[in-house]
Symmetry: C2
Subunit: 490 residues, 2 copies
C-alpha cells in the first residue's frame, strides 16, 4: 500500500487523512486488515506512536475496528449509502487526493487573488457610502446605444474563428484614436486586441520575463502588474514615486540582467502623480542605454480634469522601446473585457503567438460593436459626458475632504483618473490603520488603505478614495460620517 | 557610443544596422564624426574590414559622407522629412531596437502560431472543396435565437465586473448538463468558466507544470495542448494511440517527476479512437498509483453517431484526479469563446487565482445568454439538428471515400466528432506527401496531412478530412476530384 502524507499539520492527522482516503477510495476494502502499526511507521519514516494516534482517530470515527496487536480492520458497514455519499462529496471537494503540488506561479496568483478577496476590497452592498477604487459608472445612454449596435452587427461572420491580433476594423480605429487622443505614433498593424489590460500585462510578462529577469516597478504600484511579473519568476525592483512620478534618477544599474520597466505615466497608480516631461525623456534615455523595453500602462489616461495633456510615452519614444497598453473596460463597461496593446511591428507576431496559445482571440462580435461605437462618435461623446460627471464628483470629494479634515490631510492625484489619495497627519495612524478602516466600515463607510500597494509600508496613514462608483450627492454625507468616525477614535 | 550587434546575418550588415539605428534615433547627429574604424572594430571585437564594409553600406545609402582616414561624418541633410518618415517607419516596424531577447515560451508559442499559419492550415477561399478540420457550421436558427436572447438579457448588471469563476447561473446549468449529458459527477462549485478550452489548457499547464515536470501526451495528438505544456518548460512524453485510444500499458515509470496526463478519450484527436473502458480504468488506476492528475479534454464529445456513449473519465474517477475540460465553441459558434473546466473542489481557488491574473473573467453578457440558451432547451435542439446534419455529411464522406479509393484506404475515427482519418496504402506516399497535398490544392481540393500532429512522422500517408465546414452536396464531387489528382500522380 502506497501512502503519501500531505505535509500539513500534525503528523498523526496526516496519517489519519491518508488512510481515510484509501478507505474512501475503496483501496482499503471493508473488513480488510490494516498494516501493522510498526511496519507502517517504518515505511512512512514516522514513530509508531504517530501511527497509533492516527488509527485511534480512524477508530473514533468508525472507519476501522479492532485492537492493536489483535489486528485492526476496515469496518464492515462502509458500503452504505452514507459512506458512498461521503466519498462522492470528498471527491468533489478534492479531498481524495493528498499532497497536491502547485507551481510557484499558481501560488503567487492564488495569494494575489486571496488578498483581493479580503473583506474591504470586494464590493459590499451593506455599505452606505463606498469609496472603493476601481469601480466605474455604467452610463445608461451608452449602454442603450451599445445594445442597438449589438443587434445590428449580429451577422453570420461574427460566429467564425477570428484572428488573434483582433478585427482589422477595430485595430484601424484604435490606431487612429490612440494617435489623435493619446499622442501615440502607430499604424493598425501594431495594434493587438486583448481581453482587457490585464491580459496584455500577463502576455507581455510571459513574452519578456524569465526567472533571471528584473522588472523596475513603481513603489507604490499596481498589484495586477506586479503579480503578472512575479509569476514568471522575475525579480521586482521597486523605485519610489513622488509628485512627478517614478524617480528615474534612482533606477539601479541593471548589470547584465534583462527585463522590463513598468510605469503608469498618465496617472500613476495609486498616487495619481503624472510623470513629468523631463522624467519621461530621462526614462526613454535610460531604457535606450540599458536596452530595456518600457511597459506603459495607460489604464486611465482618458480622464483628466486640469493641466495640459501630456502625450503618451509611446509617442515621445524615438527608439521604439515602448509597449503601450490601453483599455476600454475602465472607460465604457468593466465587463466589456476589451483592451489593446501597441507594439513595435516586429514584436507583434510573438505577441500574437502567445495570445493564440492563451485563448485564441477576443470575441469577434464585441470587437465589431466597439469599432462602430467609436466610429460613430459615441465614444467621444461618452467620454465628454463621463468626464463632466466624474469632474463633479471629484470636486465634491475634494471639497468635502477639505471641509471635514482641513489641515489634517494632504491630497494627491486630483488632476486625473477616478480616485485620489489622501495622506493623513502622522498621528492619525496612532489608532491603527485597520482599526480606523474597520470602524469606518462598521459605520457604513468603505475606505481603502494605500499600504497594501507598497512593498514596504509607507509608515503613515494613506487612504484611497474612488469616485467612479459613488453618486455625487452621496459624497459629502459619506465624508462627514467618516469624519465623525475619526473624531470618535481620537 | 554604445553599439550592440543583433547577431543576425553578416557581421558588416550588423554593424551597418546598428549605426543606422544610432543615426535614425538621433544619437549620432548630423555632421557628427563617426568613430575611427579601428577603434570601433576593437570595441566590437570584429575586424576593421567588417567596420569598413559597414561604413561603405551607410555611405552608399547617403547616411554618412567622407573618406576613411579623413574622417567619416553623418550626412547633413538628415533632418529632412524623408529621413524623419524613414525613422518613424523604422520605429513602427521595431527596427530601431536590436537584439530583442524573447523568452523560451514566447519562441515556442511563436513557432506554434507560425506552423499553424502555413498555407494549408488557414482557410483559403479559393478552394472549391475544403476538408479542413476544426471548422464548424454556424446554424442560422441557433444564431437567430442567440440574437434574440442577447437583446433580452442586455441589462445593467452585465456591465459590471464579474467573478473569475464565472456567472453562477451558467455554472449551475453546466454542472447539470455535464452530469446528464457527459456522465460527469460535479456540483456548480467545481465548474469554472473560461474563454474556450484553450484557456483552460493554458491555465492548467501554468497551475501544474514547471521545467521539471513530465506530461504524458497522446501520439499523435493535439498541438494546442502540447504547446501549452511545452511553454512551461515541461517535458512531453508521447505514448502511442491505437484503435482503443492511448496505450496505457506503455506509460513509462514517472520516477519522482510530477506532471499531468493529457487525453482526449471521447474522440482522440486526431485518430478518432474512443478510449476503451478497460483502458479508462487502467488510466485512472495508473494516475492514482503515481499521484498524477489527468487532464481530460472532451473537445468534441458532443457528436457521436454510433455505439453506446461512454461517460466521461471524470465520472468514472473514484479518486478525484480528473480535470475535465469542455467547450461550447465547437458546438455552437467558434467565435463564442466560452468553455469550462470541472475541477476537484480544492483546486478551484488556485485555478480562479490564475484566471484572475490572466484576464479577470469571461464577458458576463455572453455567459448569461449561453445559460438561457441551454436552460430554454435550444442547446439540446441545436445538438440534435447538428448531429443529424453532420451524420449526413459523415455518411456521404465515407461513401465517397470508399467509392473513390476502395481498398487503397483505411478509415479511422468515423464514430464521433467532425473529422475522420484516412490512412493510404503504403505506396501512396511514394509521390511524397507534400506533392500530393500541393497537387490537390492546385486542383482546388484542400486536404490536410496527419503527420504534423506526430512528434515522429508515421511513415505512411494519412490525411484528415474535416466535414464540419463543407456542405453535404459538395463532399462527393470533392472526393472524386481528389481521386483524379491521385491517379494523375501515379
Amino acid at each position: 500500500m502506497l501512502l503519501t502524507l500531505d505535509g500539513e499539520g500534525a503528523l498523526y492527522m496526516q496519517v489519519y487523512r491518508s488512510l481515510k482516503q484509501q478507505i474512501l477510495a475503496g483501496r482499503l476494502r471493508e473488513g480488510e486488515r490494516l498494516p501493522a502499526s510498526r511496519l507502517l511507521a517504518d515505511s512512512l519514516g514516522v514513530s509508531r506512536n504517530v501511527v497509533l494516534q492516527g488509527y485511534d482517530q480512524l477508530k473514533s470515527e468508525g472507519f476501522i475496528v479492532g485492537r492493536v496487536g489483535a489486528g485492526t480492520r476496515v469496518a464492515d458497514h462502509l458500503a452504505t449509502a452514507d459512506v458512498r455519499t461521503g466519498l462522492a462529496a470528498a471527491r468533489r471537494r478534492g479531498e481524495t487526493v493528498s499532497a497536491v503540488r502547485l507551481t510557484e506561479q499558481a501560488n503567487i496568483a492564488l495569494a494575489y487573488w486571496q488578498a483581493r478577496a479580503q473583506p474591504g476590497t470586494l464590493p459590499t452592498r451593506a455599505l452606505d457610502y463606498d469609496f472603493r477604487y476601481g469601480d466605474v459608472e455604467v452610463d445608461p445612454l451608452s449602454a442603450r446605444i451599445w445594445r442597438r449596435l449589438s443587434g445590428h452587427l449580429f451577422t453570420h461572420s461574427v460566429h467564425q474563428y477570428g484572428h488573434p491580433q483582433g478585427e482589422p476594423v477595430l485595430r484601424e480605429i484604435i490606431a487612429e484614436y490612440a494617435g489623435a487622443g493619446r499622442g501615440c505614433d502607430c499604424d493598425p498593424g501594431q495594434v493587438c486586441i486583448v481581453n482587457g489590460s490585464q491580459q496584455a500585462l500577463d502576455i507581455l510578462a510571459r513574452m519578456f520575463l524569465s526567472p533571471d529577469s528584473q522588472v523596475i516597478v513603481e513603489e507604490p504600484g499596481y498589484p495586477g502588474a506586479r503579480t503578472a511579473f512575479q509569476a514568471t519568476g522575475a525579480t521586482l525592483v521597486p523605485v519610489p514615486v513622488d509628485l512627478a512620478g517614478i524617480k528615474v534618477g534612482q533606477f539601479p544599474d541593471p548589470g547584465s540582467a534583462n527585463g522590463l520597466i513598468y510605469v503608469t505615466p498618465s496617472h500613476q497608480f495609486p498616487t495619481g502623480s503624472i510623470l513629468s516631461l523631463p522624467r519621461r525623456l530621462a526614462l526613454l534615455e535610460w531604457a535606450e542605454q540599458h536596452n530595456r523595453f518600457i511597459l506603459e500602462d495607460d489604464y486611465d489616461g482618458e480622464f483628466r480634469y486640469a493641466g495640459r495633456p501630456i502625450p503618451a510615452l509611446q509617442g515621445l519614444d524615438p527608439a521604439g522601446r515602448t509597449l503601450y497598453v490601453g483599455t476600454f473596460s475602465k472607460v465604457l463597461f468593466p465587463a466589456l473585457r476589451i483592451g489593446y496593446v501597441i507594439l513595435p511591428g516586429n514584436l507583434v507576431e510573438p505577441f500574437v503567438g502567445l495570445r493564440w496559445l492563451c485563448d485564441r482571440h477576443t470575441a469577434t462580435h464585441q470587437q465589431r460593436v466597439l469599432a462602430a461605437f467609436i466610429r460613430e462618435g459615441h465614444y467621444e461623446r461618452h467620454l465628454r459626458r463621463m468626464r463632466k460627471r466624474y469632474q463633479g464628483r471629484r470636486r465634491a470629494l475634494i471639497d468635502a475632504l477639505h471641509q471635514a479634515f482641513g489641515a489634517e490631510i494632504e491630497l494627491h492625484g486630483t488632476n486625473a483618473g477616478l480616485h485620489l489619495l489622501v495622506w493623513f497627519r502622522e498621528d492619525a495612524l496612532a489608532a491603527g490603520e485597520s482599526t480606523l478602516i474597520a470602524a469606518a466600515r462598521a459605520a457604513g463607510v468603505g475606505v481603502y488603505p494605500v499600504s497594501p500597494l507598497y512593498q514596504r509600508p509607507p509608515g503613515r496613514l494613506g487612504l484611497l478614495f474612488g469616485y467612479g462608483g459613488i453618486p455625487e450627492a452621496r459624497i459629502a454625507p459619506g465624508i462627514a460620517r467618516l469624519r465623525r468616525v475619526f473624531a470618535a477614535l481620537r
